[in-house]
């Protein structure tokens, strides 16, 4: 891992987001305005797609923590995941805004017809489908999971939003013409794709949790009641201390997932399966850990902020609403629990946690 390069990317990202993604931009985006300048800034810095000579998958995941801190209102996670899937499937990455459809409603099929390859199916939770130039889909060729990319012009979008007002659209395709189709590389499974999608939520959330801690600390230091800053009250201090541990824990486990993901890419092919399994397990742990962190942190952050904190005017809700949504997206804690527990049962808790 090139820590220095990644550190540089993270620092640059902070600068880019500070400039192009203030809370007003986020608020406007929540009302439906596409933040073109922000997207261009991100794309211009090479942050929106992976690149053999530039952003690696792991760099991009680190970048998502920064993006989460700023409540990024564009499909950055999806664009990165899309380029990861395309690359893995041996397909090329098109220009423009990319998103992914990786939660198909049933088992959408590609058909090889005389007039070309066609795709039919329905995908929910497609982030910013309405806005994307291309959507990268997880589909099936028979039983084989495959990746393929479809143009905006060929998709039917039903708009929806998550709790934070982020576009989460449903896309329906009925025999749409698609480009090349590529299989998932060994040892990836359909579940690996779901894991990677979940990992983007862990990364984004790690950043967003950090931000609400910062906002809460600042507020507690400034807001006065009964003649002194509320941060002097033991009850408020306890709430903030609890937030701090939750934030630190999520960051720790996000970094663990990042390291495991990296290890699974750097591994000799003979142990690839095991390394990928380890990465997926660590991601499952992360998604489970996230649920508690979000519950505790958002509860305390709002409680410390009092009535002000749940107004639209005060910007913290751009973070807390995203966190509530991200907790659920690509599976909540209950959904991921069996993936975690299978390993505990097979190896024992301690061996599972220490990597056997």
């Amino acid at each position: 891992m090139s820590t220095t390069v990644r550190q540089m990317i993270v620092e640059t990202a902070h600068r880019v987001f500070r400039d192009a993604c203030d809370m007003e931009t986020v608020a406007q985006a929540a009302k439906g305005t596409w933040p073109k300048t922000l997207w261009q800034a991100l794309a211009g810095n090479g942050f929106t797609t992976l690149d053999d000579d530039g952003l690696t998958w792991e760099d991009a995941l680190a970048l998502l923590q920064v993006a989460g801190y700023y409540a990024v209102p564009v499909p950055l996670a999806e664009s990165i995941l899309a380029s990861r899937l395309l690359t893995a499937a041996g397909l090329s990455i098109p220009e423009g805004v990319l998103t992914v459809g990786v939660t198909p409603a049933s088992k959408p099929q590609v058909e090889h017809t005389a007039s070309g390859t066609r795709l039919s199916g329905r995908w929910t939770q497609v982030a910013w489908a309405r806005q994307a130039d291309h959507v990268v889909f997880l589909a099936f060729d028979g039983d084989q999971p495959v990746i393929t990319c479809v143009d905006q012009s060929s998709i039917q979008v039903t708009s929806g939003t998550n709790l934070a007002g982020e576009p989460r659209d449903t896309v329906v395709l009925e025999g749409a013409l698609t480009g090349d189709v590529g299989g998932l590389p060994s040892p990836w499974s359909q579940d690996s794709v779901r894991s990677f999608a979940a990992l983007t939520r862990v990364m984004l959330s790690a950043g967003a949790l950090e931000r609400i801690l910062d906002m809460t600390l600042q507020y507690a230091g400034e807001r006065k009641q009964f003649g002194r800053p509320i941060g002097k009250f033991q009850a408020v201090q306890a709430q903030i201390a609890e937030m701090a541990i939750e934030v630190a824990a999520v960051r720790a486990i996000a970094n663990l997932a990042l390291a495991a993901t990296e290890a699974s890419n750097d591994t000799a092919s003979s142990t690839e399966g095991a390394a990928l399994g380890r990465a997926e397990w660590t991601i499952a742990l992360g998604k489970v850990r996230l649920a508690q962190a979000i519950h505790v942190s958002t509860t305390h952050a709002h409680q410390v902020h009092g009535a002000m904190g749940f107004t639209e005017e005060y910007p913290m809700h751009h973070l807390t609403r995203r966190l509530w949504a991200w907790r659920q997206e690509f599976g909540n804690d209950t959904a991921w629990a069996p993936s975690v527990v299978t390993e505990l049962r097979e190896h024992g808790v301690w061996r599972a946690v220490t990597g056997v």
Binding site: Q125, A235, A307, F310, T311, E312, Q328, N332, A335
Partner: protein, 396 residues
């Protein structure tokens, strides 16, 4: 050994009969499409038609004397009506504050003329009232109120502002706690409650949008509003006493633990066929907490009926009740999978997922999540309440 007064209450048969009347009424209304159950309906369900219907049923101002349009029923009968309305998620927001707080304050401290003028319309469900307590720098600390009353002849002039006034943009009146003199040594002096006609052009009402995007709360600005003598409640300077003695009413009611009741019902429905024992444990724990809270809240209603003022008990129940409301949400967040477009959750039966039950449950969960932060803040934060309990236990 017992530190608090929480007598067991057995509801009289008349109250239980009334309960069945309310249930029939609600079932009819729901069948007619009169309302869709929502979370936190006493805040978000502002529905003048529905309030008027309740007025016609005799379910507003129930305990007030008949000569002011009331129905001279018991506190416990009123309690039963309130809990049924809330548990059903019915839209009671329009008249809620008038019935719970402003009517009783006028009844207790108002002049005969004020009673005759204001109470009958409240009881009809056509007169809606806002609370004017909080200010930008007086949230949990009401004694810091600064909205200023200056004498003007027999009346007063009012300048300043109030925050978080629920429904003020749709109410006709507000009762505001204002500063008419210095606070004095105990910090509780110099406060006066006045009635303000919100249609007065010198009153500016600005919306405060919530994180759910809804508009319930307002900032209300008084630009030198003239307050005539007959709009003052009781004696000038008695305001602190008047608002704090209502606190037990405000804090012990069933609205402090039933806000997420429609979500709880939906959760049990959608997991109807789950054999998962530990999910059942979570549901049973919620039910047992609910049952206990209801008994405690009923006990307080009983004390109030007998003229007591159980402020500490009310603080205890509100603290626990509002935490319960949020626990319901947390369990639901583990069961349902928001954003799957009504396609399921963990432990949700396919049968139910296939019909509209799951989508409705998800809607209720979204409401509960977005309203949740308010539960443990409004009407005195839980931190404030715990201080009151500690004082009641002799710890300070």
């Amino acid at each position: 050994m017992s530190r608090f007064t929480f007598e067991s209450i057995r509801l009289p048969d008349t109250a239980e009969d009334l309960r069945q009347d309310v249930r029939r009424f609600l079932a009819d209304e729901q069948a007619k499409g009169g309302f869709v159950p929502v979370v936190d309906s006493w805040l978000s369900g502002f529905n003048p038609d529905f309030s008027e219907k309740l007025g016609r049923m005799g379910w507003i101002g129930m305990v007030w004397p008949e000569k002011y349009g009331g129905h001279a029923r018991s506190t416990l009968e009123r309690y039963v009506v309130m809990e049924e309305l809330l548990a059903a998620g019915a839209p009671v927001g329009a008249h809620w504050v008038a019935d719970r707080q402003m009517g009783p304050m006028i009844l207790r401290h108002g002049t005969e003329a004020q009673k005759e003028r204001f109470l009958p319309d409240m009881a009809k469900g056509v007169s809606y009232w806002a609370i004017g307590m909080s200010e930008p720098n007086a949230g949990s600390d009401l004694s810091a109120a600064q909205a200023k009353l200056t004498p003007d002849g027999a009346g007063w002039r009012l300048s300043g502002q109030k925050l978080w006034s629920s429904g003020a943009h749709r109410c006709q009146y507000m009762i505001a706690l204002c500063r008419s003199g210095p606070a004095g040594d105990d910090r509780h002096g110099g406060l006066t409650n006045v009635i303000i006609d919100l249609r007065d052009p010198a009153v500016t009402i600005r919306p405060i949008y919530l994180i759910s995007g809804e508009h319930h709360f307002n900032e209300v600005i008084f630009n030198d509003v003239y307050i005539s003598e007959d709009m003052v409640i009781g004696e000038p300077g008695d305001g602190w006493h008047q608002v704090t003695e209502e606190l037990a009413h405000e804090r012990s009611g069933p609205e402090r633990f039933l806000s997420t009741m429609p979500l709880f019902e939906a959760l049990v429905q959608v997991t109807q066929h789950s054999e998962d024992r530990y999910l059942q444990r979570e549901l049973a724990a919620l039910a047992s907490e609910l049952a206990a809270l209801r008994q405690l809240s009923l006990s307080i209603a009983g004390i109030l009926e007998q003229g007591g003022n159980p402020v500490v008990e009310a603080a205890l129940v509100k603290d626990a009740g509002t935490r319960f409301e949020r626990k319901v949400t947390e369990v639901a967040e583990r069961v349902l999978q928001l954003g799957t477009n009504g396609e399921g959750g963990v432990g949700v039966s396919d049968e139910i997922a296939a019909n509209s039950g799951i989508a409705a449950a998800e809607t209720l969960l979204a409401q509960a999540i977005l309203h949740g932060p308010g539960f443990t803040i409004r009407g005195g934060t839980n931190e404030i309440l715990r201080g009151i309990v500690a004082r009641g236990l002799g710890l300070r």
